[in-house]
Amino acid sequence: MERVRRGLITAPAAWLQAGPLALVFVVFFVLPLALIVAVSFWQATDYELVPAFSAQNYRDIFAGCPRSGGDLCVTLKTYLSTLKFCALTWLITATLGFAIAYFLAFHVRSTLMQTVLFIVCTVPFWTSNVIRMISWVPLLGRNGLINETLLAAHAVDAPLEWLLFSDFSVVLAFVHLYTMFMIVPLFNSMMRIDRALLEAARDAGASAWQAVWHVVLPLSKTGLIIGSIFVVALVMGDFVTVGVMGGQQIASVGKIIQVQAGYLQFPAAAANAVVLLGVVLLMIAALLRLVNLRKEL
């Protein structure tokens, strides 16, 4: 929004240049979003929407919160579970993504090799999401490859049940899917780092670790934050991965919205979507406080 306002005070030409994109944004983003917010205050029967102004949908979301009958209410529990996946996935993808991007940027010298290795990183995306997730079953399942190997090696007495349809498998699938979203921006940031700075660090007596920690990490912060925004937004809104890998037994905010929309309870789904949007925006705002993206890019 701020960018648009800044355009207003500069030349009209710039305003015209920004116009088409702004229009697309208004029609395909702002308008639908406004509609969702409006509908979230409506009421619905089984087959029609009833325009109204009622906070009932929001009251329903937080019914019984924070606690009902000794248990956390559904909404809080669902958000906590989703946030947990978010934190774990972020931690692992950030670590992995940083290591892989570092390797690609600083250890692989030829551009050809970098390109080839980059393509290797995208291999998981060559098949459809659903097929990728279904193929975890023969690997992680009760009679899957890993359990059969462990049993044959007498490492375990009974098949490990927590490999599939568990928090573990959900995080595993997330990491598998989203590490790429960390690698790309991190790699991009690292490629812009002036190699002379690393030499200077060496000359000043820094060890390899110190150079990574004090030079590379701060200078790739922008990439890290952009990658984090991708991962956070994707994990918070996901319901397919949690559904398939959690054996449909783990709740996610996206799943609740999907079920409600499937049962034509659009106002309730819209209210949930608005709450989710608020939470994600807060998280992204917090991330953006850590780095001034416009200055860095």
Binding site: P32, L35, I36, V39, A44, D46, Y47, E48, L49, P51, D60, V74, K77, T78, S81, I134, V137, P138, G141, R142, N143, G144, E161, L164, F165, G243, V244, G247, Q248, Q249, A251, K255, I256, V259, Q260, A261, G262, Y263, L264, Q265, F266, A268, A269, A270
Partner: protein, 427 residues
């Protein structure tokens, strides 16, 4: 939203409905209508339904017979209803389950099907028109088809109590569902719904995650376990919903369920991989497990079956050539070839006489009369389903369909039920 523009012009509806439609566009994940091609003479019918019913062979045979093209739009059970209510101009032919009519008919999006234009209307099995199998009444808890079979008028939005000239849906296919089991892994007879929550199968059971159907399976379990007797499983009070969901949540917390499934293929995978040994299942899924050479039984249970039925409806705005083509397809569908095809998949067709004429005597004896197979029984695609000598699970048509305990349903407290179901998933 964008897809609405590719639809043909339509008379302006209530502004409320167009907003609803816009909302649906936002929420729908899949693409809405496909832009259809206007050929000079050739008519294409856009057929909205679930993938289970949309067989390529049926569309090909129909096109070969009549020159009319069928374009399948496969979506999930819940999405069929959603689109029928929110985007009634995105299809020409609706294949949906009877229970969803409680949402679709009041929305006024379907036209009454004129019985006079359906050649075999009087031969439709009395299960639909009177709720009877072989002269005997079957269970009618839930949305039994006879309750929503007829409309007061062609444009009616209310169901008629007695038969009229206008049907809501022309029935096509129906079945009685029960639990699927892996007899090789369970190694003992199973005869009651309560076994689904038997701790013996802890971590090896599954229930389906489609709220309106899953709740019925859960209710069968609650009754079988002697916890409660519902006056009407298909229309629970809030208290009854609470009790049913509480039972499910306790089982879930104790680790009873290995997974919940939403998609037909997921249930096949769970069973075939041995992750699950007892679960809610659909008959073609059992068939699919079996064709992999893995033993799987669609186990008849003493409390009876949960039945479902589907049929064809036509959107109110369909007229002219397309409407004629829709009637032609429906008449063709009831004429035997498709019915025989469905019967060979383990479903039942709406007009049995015409299907019988297109089946071999030994096939009819196996599928419909519950007799031991004289020869190997093959699926329509030629895969071996049962060896000579085998008997169909649940026996004859009368034994299976006569054992219906309840029907898939939309309850009055549907919104509350969905909310509680979400609690079960989150628990």
């Amino acid at each position: 939203m964008k897809d609405d523009h590719s639809q043909p012009m339509q008379p302006a509806g209530l502004p409320r409905r167009s907003v609803l439609k816009a909302g649906a566009g936002l929420a729908a994940s899949g693409a809405l209508g496909f832009p259809f091609v206007h050929a000079a003479e050739k008519v294409t019918l856009r057929y909205l339904g679930t993938a289970v019913n949309q067989d390529k062979a049926i569309a090909e045979k129909f096109e070969a017979d009549t020159g009319i093209k069928i374009q399948y739009i496969p979506v999930t059970t819940d999405d069929v209803t959603k689109r029928a209510v929110t985007a009634p101009n995105s299809f020409d032919l609706l294949d949906t389950e009877y229970f969803s009519l409680k949402k679709i008919i009041p929305a006024g999006n379907l036209q009454g099907m004129d019985v006079k234009r359906i050649k075999n209307a009087d031969k439709i099995t009395p299960l639909f028109t009177k709720g009877e199998v072989a002269g005997k009444k079957v269970g009618d808890q839930g949305t039994a088809p006879k309750k929503v079979m007829y409309l007061e008028s062609a444009t009616g939005k209310t169901f008629a109590k007695a038969p009229t000239q206008f049907m809501t849906l022309i029935p096509t296919v129906y079945n009685a569902d029960t639990l699927g089991i892996r007899p090789d892994l369970i190694k003992r007879p199973i005869d009651s719904w309560k076994e689904l929550l038997n701790p013996e199968f802890k971590g090896k059971a599954a229930i389906l995650n489609i709220p309106s159907i899953g709740i019925m399976d859960a209710a069968m379990v609650v009754e079988a376990a002697g916890l409660y007797k519902y006056p009407d499983k298909g229309n629970m009070t809030r208290k009854e919903i609470d009790l049913t969901i509480k039972t499910l949540i306790e089982a879930k917390k104790a680790g009873q369920f290995r997974a919940l499934w939403k998609d037909f293929n997921e249930s096949v995978n769970l069973m075939a991989s041995g992750e699950v040994v007892i679960q809610s299942m659909w008959s073609p899924a059992v068939t699919a497990v079996r064709t992999k050479g893995i033993p799987c039984t669609f186990q008849p249970l003493k409390e009876g079956y949960r039945a479902w039925a589907a049929g064809f409806g036509v959107p109110r705005t369909l007229t002219g050539k397309k409407l004629d083509a829709a009637y032609e397809f429906i008449n063709w569908f009831l004429d035997g070839w498709a019915g025989a095809y469905l019967n060979r998949q383990g479903y039942y067709s709406a007009v049995l006489d015409t299907a019988k004429a297109k089946m071999e005597a030994y096939e009819w004896a196996y599928w419909m009369e519950g007799k031991a197979a004289e020869k190997d029984i093959k699926a329509p695609n030629g895969e071996l389903l049962a060896k000579a000598g085998a008997v169909r699970d649940g026996g004859s048509y009368e034994a299976r369909m006569g054992g219906i305990a309840c029907w898939n349903a939309i309850m009055d407290e549907n919104a509350y039920m969905v909310q509680k179901w979400n609690e079960f998933v989150a628990a």
